[in-house]
């Protein structure tokens, strides 16, 4: 049996995604910028996808810009805003458990003369509001916060955060990294006070190589990529028509019967947590009393006395695919910043796995995975490194 439980890394594209992409490769292969009908045929896919996406966010189509990835969306948001508003100030605020595409981009901006404050999170992975508000200064131009953490699945109350920061400083620009959140939550930037929002295609059963950035019409962003002026000059380069078409199809499908899909995910998540908590010396991270207050698809579990990488490969041999909670290596342990940030004890940093679900995951897969972990733990615990 196989249980693919690494859906926060990537998901299997929906059949509808593959289908529409094939069409753009076989028949409608034109360049959307071409004036002839082949070009128009391709352009229709862009317009359709943009409409689907804009509707899902209840925003205008002109506020959606396609990028190559969530990483590019995050880079464009941070660098584009920082450059554009540098005259207003050079201070940025984020948290201490962001994804590398935020964290390293902020590091780059720091090397270019910007100042960044990193606000801590509590043990459940919630941004400490008082610390966040305290960090706001006269020269703060941008605040960037991830909605769902990719390693532990904690969720921020984005609307409350936006309200609080904008009360303190109305002109601050608020960016939300929604790469793990979009498709799981209905996100309405206008109502929630989000100025920029990053999304990636392949986390929601779309293809790799495509993402988008929502930019509120009142916010200005310097482009990162220059050229033929596609997408109103915000992002030059011939549009990735297959990717965009696929992304549109994925968004359409993921938000169809959305409540049922999420209920299914939460049921699976509870099942997995219950299974894991029965095992000795196993701890589920960052889940409080109400599972529904965490993201429906990410579960971080620590296994005392077992090295994550070994358990991961042992599970892989049995067809269970997961991620290690930390990118660890024998020579240069680069332990997870997120796990440290939520106060996971040192001994468990290298013993933590991430299980992540998708709408196509089944109960059987969950039970199978739990059973495999239960079998492997006693064996692997016999052989620990000295």
């Amino acid at each position: 049996m196989e249980a693919y439980l690494d859906n926060a890394a990537t998901t299997r594209p929906f059949a509808s995604v593959r289908e529409i992409m094939m069409k753009t490769l076989d028949e409608d292969f034109g360049n959307p910028s071409s004036l002839h009908t082949k070009g128009m045929g391709a352009e229709k896919y862009l317009r359709d996808a943009k409409k689907i996406i804009a509707n899902s966010l209840k925003v205008q189509e002109k506020e959606i810009f396609f990028t190559s990835s969530g990483t590019e969306s995050n880079n464009t948001a941070l660098i584009g805003v920082a450059e554009c508003y540098a005259r207003r100030g050079k201070h940025i605020i984020s948290t201490n458990f962001e994804h590398a595409s935020i964290y390293n981009t902020l590091g780059y901006l720091e090397s270019r003369g910007y100042e960044v404050s990193y606000v801590p999170v509590d043990t459940l992975g919630h941004v400490k509001m008082d610390a966040l508000l305290d960090a706001i200064r006269e020269d703060t131009i941008l605040i960037s916060i991830m909605m769902v953490n990719n390693e532990i699945g904690s969720v921020q109350d984005i609307a409350a955060i936006s309200k609080a920061i904008k009360e303190k400083k109305p002109d601050v620009i608020f960016h939300v990294d929604a790469i793990q959140a979009y498709g799981k939550y209905k996100i309405y930037p206008k109502r929630m006070g989000i100025d920029l929002l990053s999304v990636s295609g392949h986390k929601i059963h779309g293809p790799k190589g495509i993402g988008f950035l929502y930019v509120d019409e009142h916010v200005r962003v310097n482009p990162l990529i220059h050229g033929g002026g596609q997408q109103k000059g915000m992002r030059s380069g011939t549009e990735n028509v297959p990717g965009i078409a696929g992304l549109g199809a994925a968004v359409k499908e993921i938000y169809t019967d959305h409540e049922e899909k999420m209920a299914h995910l939460y049921a699976l998540k509870k099942r997995l947590i219950a299974g894991m908590e029965k095992l000795p010396d196993v701890k589920v991270n960052a889940v409080g009393d109400v599972v529904e207050e965490t993201a429906p698809h990410v579960i971080s579990v620590s296994f005392r006395g077992v090295r994550a990488e070994v358990l991961l490969h042992a599970l892989e041999e049995r067809g269970v695919y997961v991620s290690s909670g930390s990118a660890c290596s024998s020579n240069h342990p680069a332990l997870s910043g997120t796990l440290k940030a939520i106060g996971v004890e040192d001994a468990l940093l290298d013993s933590t796995l991430r299980f992540s679900l998708s709408v196509t995951t089944t109960e059987e897969e969950i039970d199978y995975a739990v059973a495999q972990v239960a079998e492997l733990l006693p064996v692997l615990r016999m052989f620990t490194r000295h």
Binding site: V310, L315, E317, M382, F383
Partner: protein, 399 residues
Amino acid sequence: MQENIYRAFLIKYGEIGIKGKNKSNFEEALRVQIENALKHLEGDFRVMRESGRVFVFCPKVYDYEETVEALQRVFGIVGICPMRVISDKRFESIKEETVKYVREAFGDRELTFKVFCKRADKNYPMTSPEICMEVGGFLLEHFPNLSVDIKNPQEKITIEVRQSHAYVYSHEIPGLGGMPVGSNGKAMLLLSGGIDSPVAGYMVAKRGVTIEATYFHAPPYTSERAKQKVVDLAKIIARYTGPIRLHVINFTDIQLAIYKTCPHDELTIIMRRYMMRIAEDLANKNGCMALVTGESIGQVASQTIQSLACTNEVCDLPVFRPLVAFDKADIVALSEKIGTFETSILPFEDCCTIFVAKHPVTKPIRGVIRASEAKLHGQIEALYEKAIETDEVILCEAE
């Protein structure tokens, strides 16, 4: 693509030239290695042995730089001389072609030269000294920037008159030296994912030895990526050694048995002894006459002189340790030169690092180790056979 003035290479070989009756075997091995090295390059190459010389002819469009680089990775070559082929070997034509060659090779650089001539075609109407004098004079007339220096010329312009063609060449690009792989039997390399063992394999191959390799895989403690890394390393060494047959042995059960049964400070040394035994078995089955390891005295606990003696005693085949007296920095420098370093330092666990005692024995006493090993009897034999059966052979060719 610009027409290259060099249509052939004269391959100079050192040691193999002096091997008496075996010379022909060595030359054939060299020819095969050169063909193998050029196989994937753009162009159409003919490698020919012709009365005591090896030539590479390049009749079609080819990439000069790439070809020289490939030849520079063939063991047994000491020098590579790019040549102009003169297909019409009448003397007038030789003179004119030499002028063209000199113009393109040297331009208007000021330099001293001397013309040398070798005449394999003894029926040629002119003698070698006559050819030298005539061509030398002709060159002086054409190039004011040239002057003759008989004793210490900067450029030695050599003309060879053979049965079918004549050639002219002047410079020699250094090769790697050593002996052609395939001329000196076969050995089994214990290949890990580290820095040393690929270098050791390279060095032994340089003496003309064909390399097979064994890698000990310990899933799930070592990952598929660690195995892929070893395959990648073998492919890099294969650029020099030719294709390598890599044996992958599942070592997990043996390792766990040692872990369960033996004192933990002796784990590594006992593990090494089993690796040597398995490698020797595979060597014997595959016609290898020696083992090769990347060990260097004192580098780690399992490579002290006592530890080496202790791992050495379990096998009868000679164990070649070409790095035994090398400092780590020298090994690193060699691995950078060979091109394995970047791959070697990728951070994946290999089976030497998964169960390591904090304070392993550094001066193992053979009697003590043997006694610890004896505790494995009864269970280890079956595991050993099982491990040998897992032998998966991966053919690693240069890419």
